[in-house]
C-alpha cells in the first residue's frame, strides 16, 4: 500500500495501530523488566540469607548461647534450688526447647531459609536476636527506623553537598580548562584513592586530639542538651568531622569526572555553533552542555539517593556514629541475621525500583531513547 493511495480513514487506523503497538511494547517491556528485577532481588536476598546463616553454623552458636543462658538463669534462681537434680535438668531442657522454638531453631535451616526469604520479600522483617533499639524494641523495623535518621543526616548532607558542589565547580572548570585551578583539581584527583574513614583518622588527630575543638565521635554530647538549639548545635559539632571526611574523600575525583564528562560535550560542534551565534555562556551551559548529560547526572543522583540507605559502614564505625552502617557492622559481629537480611532487602528493593524507574526517566529526558527497544 503506497502513501499516495491512502484514504483518511486508513491513515487514522495506521496511527491507531502505531499507538497500540507502542503501548503493547511499553507494557510488555514493563512486565518483563519487573519480572527480571524481581527474580534478581529474590536471588540476591536468598544468597544473603544463606551467607548470613553461615550454612547453619549460626544455629550452633545460637543454640549454645541459649543453653548457657537458660542453664544459668535456672541455676541462679532461688526458687528452683530446692528441686532435685533430675527435675531441674528436665526443666532446663524444657525451657531450652521452648526458647529454641521461639527463635525458630526447631525447624531445619533449609526450610527456615525459605521462610526468611518469604518474610523478607513481604517486608516482614521480624525480630532481632541480640540488638535492641534505644527505646528497647527488638523489632528489626523499629531498629532500622531508629538508626535511619542519623545516617540520612550524615550521608544526606555530605552527599548532596558533594553532588551539587562538584557539578557547579566542574562546570566552571570545563569553561576554563587548562587554567591553574583546573590543573590543581586534576593534580588532586588521585586523593580519592584514600577512603573516607582514613581521612577521618587524620581529622580526629588534628581537630579532636590536637586542637581539642571538635569531639572524637558520637552524635551528641553526653548527656544530650535539653534545649533544642543546643541539641542541634551539638549534633552539628559532631557531624562536622565525619561529614568532612566523606566529602574530602570523593570531592576531587568527582569534580574531575564531571569536568571530563562536560568537556566531551563542550567540544561538540553544536556547542561551537552556539558560541559562534554569540549565546551567553550561561545559556550554553544550561541548554547545550547540561541537557545532553542529564541522563547520566540523573543516574548519579539516583544512585546517590539509594546509597544513602547503606550508610557509610567504616566511617560510621570510626566515628561511632549511631547510623545504619554501624548497626550493620554490630549486627554481623553479634550474628544478628534478621538485621543483616532486613538491611539488605530494603537496599535491594530500593535499587531495583530505582533501576526500573530510571529506564522511563531516560526516555523522558532523552528523546533518542525508546522504551523497550
Amino acid at each position: 500500500m503506497s502513501a499516495i493511495t491512502q484514504t483518511p480513514a486508513e491513515k487514522q487506523s495506521i496511527k491507531k495501530f502505531r499507538l497500540n503497538s507502542s503501548l503493547i511494547r511499553i507494557l510488555r517491556y514493563t512486565f518483563t523488566r519487573i519480572l527480571t528485577l524481581f527474580i534478581t532481588v529474590v536471588i540476591g536476598i536468598y544468597l544473603t540469607i544463606v551467607i548470613a546463616n553461615m550454612g547453619g553454623y549460626v544455629d550452633v552458636i545460637m543454640k549454645g548461647e541459649i543453653r548457657d543462658r537458660i542453664t544459668q538463669l535456672i541455676l541462679n534462681n532461688k526458687a528452683y534450688q530446692q528441686m532435685d537434680v533430675e527435675t531441674r535438668q528436665a526443666l532446663i531442657q524444657e525451657k531450652i526447647a521452648a526458647e529454641e522454638k521461639r527463635v525458630g531453631l526447631d525447624v531445619p535451616i533449609a526450610i527456615r531459609n525459605f521462610r526468611y526469604l518469604k518474610n523478607a520479600l513481604l517486608l516482614d522483617l521480624g525480630r532481632a536476636i541480640n540488638i535492641t533499639s534505644d527505646s528497647g524494641s527488638k523489632q528489626v523495623r523499629l531498629i532500622l527506623l531508629e538508626r535511619l535518621p542519623p545516617t540520612l543526616l550524615l550521608m544526606g548532607t555530605s552527599q548532596l553537598f558533594l553532588f551539587f558542589f562538584s557539578i557547579f565547580i566542574a562546570l566552571n572548570l570545563s569553561r576554563n580548562y587548562g587554567s591553574f585551578w583546573d590543573k590543581v583539581m586534576i593534580a588532586l584527583s588521585p586523593s580519592s584513592a584514600v577512603p573516607p574513614w582514613f581521612y577521618g583518622i587524620f581529622l580526629i588527630l588534628i581537630f579532636a586530639s590536637g586542637l581539642k575543638i571538635l569531639p572524637f565521635g558520637g552524635m551528641v554530647d553526653a548527656p544530650p542538651p535539653v534545649n533544642k538549639i543546643d541539641y542541634a548545635l551539638s549534633v552539628l559539632k559532631h557531624l562536622l568531622l565525619p561529614g568532612l571526611s566523606l566529602i574530602i574523600s570523593s570531592f576531587f575525583l568527582s569534580v574531575y569526572n564531571y569536568r571530563t564528562f562536560f568537556l566531551i560535550y563542550a567540544t561538540e560542534d553544536y556547542v561551537d555553533m552556539a558560541r559562534a551565534k554569540g549565546l551567553k555562556a550561561n545559556d550554553i551551559e544550561r541548554k547545550y552542555i547540561l541537557r545532553p548529560t542529564l541522563p547520566n547526572i540523573i543516574t548519579n543522583f539516583a544512585l546517590l539517593i539509594i546509597g544513602l540507605w547503606t550508610g557509610a559502614l567504616f566511617t560510621e564505625t570510626v566515628f561511632l556514629w549511631p547510623g545504619l552502617g554501624r548497626t550493620l557492622f554490630q549486627a554481623i559481629g553479634q550474628y544478628d541475621t534478621p538485621i543483616i537480611v532486613g538491611s539488605t532487602i530494603i537496599y535491594a528493593y530500593l535499587l531495583a525500583m530505582t533501576v526500573f524507574i530510571l529506564n522511563f526517566v531516560y526516555a523522558l529526558v532523552d528523546p533518542r531513547v525508546k522504551i523497550g527497544e
Binding site: T36, L37, T40, V41, I43, G44, I45, L47, T48, I51, A52, M54, Y57, V58, Y177, A187, S189, P190, S191, S192, A193, V194, P195, W197, F198, I201, F202, I204, L205, A208, S209, F216, T260, L263, I264, T267, T310, L313, F314, T317, V318, L328, F329, I332, G333, Y335, I340, S343, T344, Y347, A348, L351, A352
Partner: protein
Amino acid sequence: MLNNFRSSFQKILMYPSAIAGVLVILFLVGVSVYTVITIPYSKAINMWRGGEEVWYQNPKFASPAWINYFSKQKYAESFAVSTTEAEIQTTTTSNDRGVSTIEMIYEFDYLADIYPQELILYFKSSFKEKQPFISIELITPDERTIRIANFALTGKDVTYRFSQDEKLRTKLRTKDLIPALFSLPETEQPLKGTYKLIITGSTFETDSTIDAEFVFHGQVFGWAGTDHARRDLMLPLLWGVPVALAFGLLAAIGTSVLTMIIAAVGTWYGGWVDELIQRITEINLVLPFFALLIMIGTFYSRSIVVILGATIILSIFTGGILGYRAVFLQVKQSMYIEAAKAYGASNMRIIFKYLIPRMIPLLIPGLVQSVPAFVFLEASLAVIGLGDPVLPTWGKIIQDASANGALYKGYYYWVLEPASLLIVTGLAFAILGFALDRIFNPKLREA
C-alpha cells in the same frame, strides 16, 4: 603491539608525577624483597605473636627515636646491654678458697629531659648450694654514689626492677624512684652526664657464674617506636609492605583479568551466556559488598587468602564488566574479526588472540588505578578487627592503636606511621594509573 607499548612507556616520561609513582612503587617492591629475605615469614609471625619473652628489652608506647631531632625536650633512648655480649665490662678476681668477686661496670650517657620508664637488671647465675651475692651502685655525674641494692641471687633467674624497690624508695625519700636517680637531690631538673652502674657479684663456689643484662627502658625506641605489647613497630611496618602490595596487586590483576575474560567470552558467544553474565551482574549489584566481606570475615575465615578470593569474586561482576562488554560489542564487528572467522579461527583463538589484546590499553590503567582501593580495603577490614589473625599488617597497627586509645593519649606516631605508608602506597598507584589513563586513552588528554 610491542612498539605501541614502547611508545606508551616513553610517554610516561612526560609525566613527572607518573615517574614519582613508578619510583615509589619500585622502592616499595625493593623493601618487600628485603623484608621477606631478612625477616622470613615464620620468624616474622613468631616475633609478632611473641609476648614479653621476645620483647622484654623494649619499653611500652615508646615514640620513634628520631622525634628527638624535632622536639625541644629530649627523650631518653632505650638500650639493652649484657655481659654475654661483652657490652658490660667484667673483671673477675678469685682467691684459692673458691670465692670470686665479679665486678661489672657499665658507663652510659644520660642527656635527656624526660626520664626513662624503667631500669631493669636480669641476672642469670649458676651455683650448686651457695647463692651468689649482688650489690648494685650507681655513680652519678657529680660523683655521688647511690647504693641501690644488696641481695642474694635466690634462683637461676632473678629480675631486679629499679622502680619497684621499696627499700630504695624509703632511703631516697621519694615517690618516683627513676626521676630521683637521674636528678640532683631536692630538684626536679634532670642531671645530664655520664652515669656509671657498678654491679659487684660474689660467688662462693668454684664453678659458680653470674651473667647480667641491663635493660634501660627509655621513652623513645628505634626507627618506628613500640606498641602496647613492647613490640617494635618496624616489624609490622616492614611486613606490611609485601602484604599490602601482594593483596592490592593480586586483587587488582585477578579482578581485571577475570572480568575482561568473562566479558569477552560473553560477548563473543552471545545468547544465553551473555544473558547469564548480565543477570549475575545485576544480582551482584543488589548484594551489599562490604557487608558480605565482613560476614565472610566474621563467620568463615579471616585468613587473607580467603578474603582475597572473596574480594575478587565479588568484584568481577560489577559495572566494569558492562563497560568491557560495550567495547567488545564494537570490536566484535571489526573487519579483522571477520577475517579471522573467514580463515576458520577457533572461538578460543579469536577471544584470546584477537579480542582481549585489543583491550589491553583499557585494562592497564584501570588495573593500576584499582590497586589503592584494594590496599585500603585490606586495611579497612583490619581496622574493624577483621585482619588476618597472624600476619603483621599496617591495618593491624592502626587497629591496635585505636583499640589502645592512641589518638586520645597522644601516641600519634602509632597511627601516623602506618597511615603515611598506606597513603604513599595508595597515591603512588593512583598517580601512575591516572597518567597511564591519559596515555592509553588520548581522548581524555585532549579534553
